[in-house]
Amino acid sequence: MRTLTDALITGLAILATLLVVAPLIAIFVYLIYKGASSLNLAFFTQIPKPVGETGGGMANAILGSGILLGVASAIGVPIGIGGGIFLAEFGRGTKLANAVRFTADVLNGVPSIVMGLAAYALIVSHQKHFSAFSGGVALAIMMIPTVCRTTEEMLLMVPHVIREAALGLGVPNWRSVLSITVKTASPGIITGCMLAFARVAGETAPLIFTALGNQFWSTSLNEPIAALPLQIYVYALSPYDDWHRLAWAGSLVLIILIVLAVSLVRFVTSRGVLKGAS
């Protein structure tokens, strides 16, 4: 009877695992099926062709997404990590910390299109034009709560005895927090940043009223800029078969780029980890 139950539970666990992995694999296979045929050198090197001409690529959108995510990470990651450190280490139990935590949780639940509207109201309506910068800010605001709360949780998981060890050596508290606690929690904090990054990398809604999209090359933070999700959105809604195929290819590239970026960060940060380090 016991072995039977054991087998049953194991079977259920395996089934659940398959159900978790299946959609991911299905999406990926379908994207390759639909998009891989349209992937060629031109896709990565050319900008979109005008309506009616075939060919062209999404090079400007790939670059644009890179720039938008760079701006978003440059703003969102430091603010998020800083907030998380405050919540876990310096503000614990204070009213301010509770307010910040509550705000972050609410912010996490705000629909992404509202983030776009907020960035529009804060930046675009003052500057009187759409810009890459405003799109980056919209994405950054979306990253902050995830980064902030995972940082806090990872820091709280660092055992109390580790903090005591640092304080017991006569290390000032701020130094102990930055050099010991944060360092000990860094693998988890990096995972949190990567999750936030991957999430906003595919966002379309916050960019509609901010980055707007662009059919041409642009690297200026002050101009409208193309982004992969925006381009996919526009192409998928278009009536042209050629654009539909490019939209599929764009989706495939977007997913591959996210996986590459996350793997790269993992690889870079895992170098120098010592034998037996936990």
Partner: protein, 252 residues
């Protein structure tokens, strides 16, 4: 060299819980002093008052005087200064998990801004030799994490880490209670060697351990120090009935 510790009318609280009441004692320099007593009697709180760790707890509070040598630590010094002079080894080995063995030992100096690499190399080697760990780790100093060592090795690493900042006093809060008998006896041998250079205060549940390593022993009960005398006297001819009951195993 170690210095003596003089404790005058020390009281400590956790919130409203009066954990230490009117403690007075003189801990001699360059000797090992053991503190024994049942769980919750205040002996851990007591050692945490000697390096001002008690107050790192938000609800911890201390009154009274503690002199380390001539220094009145609650009046004339900042906590971080005290903790460099009074090292501490905790109950559970707590090496920094992301740091190499070398960096664990050097941590106290590096984090306080000390960066002379050659001097650090020497200090790390000397500290690891003093904690009897050098021969076991000298080939993996910068390759292995402190967390990869066995429990007993980790505890000796923590002792090396405490010694590296060159303290005068070494507080040990049940340093061997989480270790196996072989590791325990290594730690005890170590205490025996170290007490010529440092003043050692060791909290222990193990009365044989107190008898083996310490010249003086204090018996704590319910937040008070019942008796403080030479270890020999405490274990053979205690003056207080409660001490006798405890060491003969009638309670605790």
């Amino acid at each position: 060299m170690g210095v003596g510790i003089e404790v005058i009318n020390l009281n400590a609280w956790y919130g409203t819980n009066h954990t230490l009441q009117d403690i007075n004692l003189n801990i001699p320099a360059n000797h090992a002093t053991a503190l024994i007593g049942p769980s919750g009697c205040g002996k851990s709180t007591f050692v945490r008052c000697i390096n001002r760790m008690h107050e790192t707890n938000p609800i911890g509070r201390v009154t009274g005087t503690v002199l380390i040598g001539d220094l009145d630590i609650y009046k004339d010094a900042k906590p971080v200064q005290i903790r460099r002079r009074v090292g501490m080894v905790f109950q559970r080995p707590n090496p920094f998990p992301t740091m190499s063995i070398y960096d664990n030992v050097a941590a106290g100096l590096k984090l306080n801004g000390y960066s002379n690499r050659r001097a650090l190399d020497e200090i790390v080697e000397r500290s690891l030799k003093n904690s009897a760990l050098w021969d076991e780790v000298k080939d993996d100093l910068k390759k292995k994490s402190g967390a990869s060592l066995s429990g007993g090795q980790q505890q000796r690493l923590c002792i090396a880490r405490a010694l590296a900042v060159d303290p005068e006093v070494l507080l040990m809060d049940e340093p061997a209670s989480a270790l196996d008998p072989v590791s325990t006896s290594k730690i005890e041998d170590l205490i025996f060697q170290l007490k010529s250079q440092y003043t050692i205060v060791i909290v222990t549940h193990n009365m044989q351990q107190a008898a083996r390593v310490a010249e003086k022993t204090g018996f704590f009960l319910n937040g008070r120090m019942v008796e403080f005398d030479s270890t020999h006297k405490i274990f053979t001819n205690p003056s207080d009935k409660r001490t006798e009951d405890y060491i003969t195993g009638r309670f605790g």
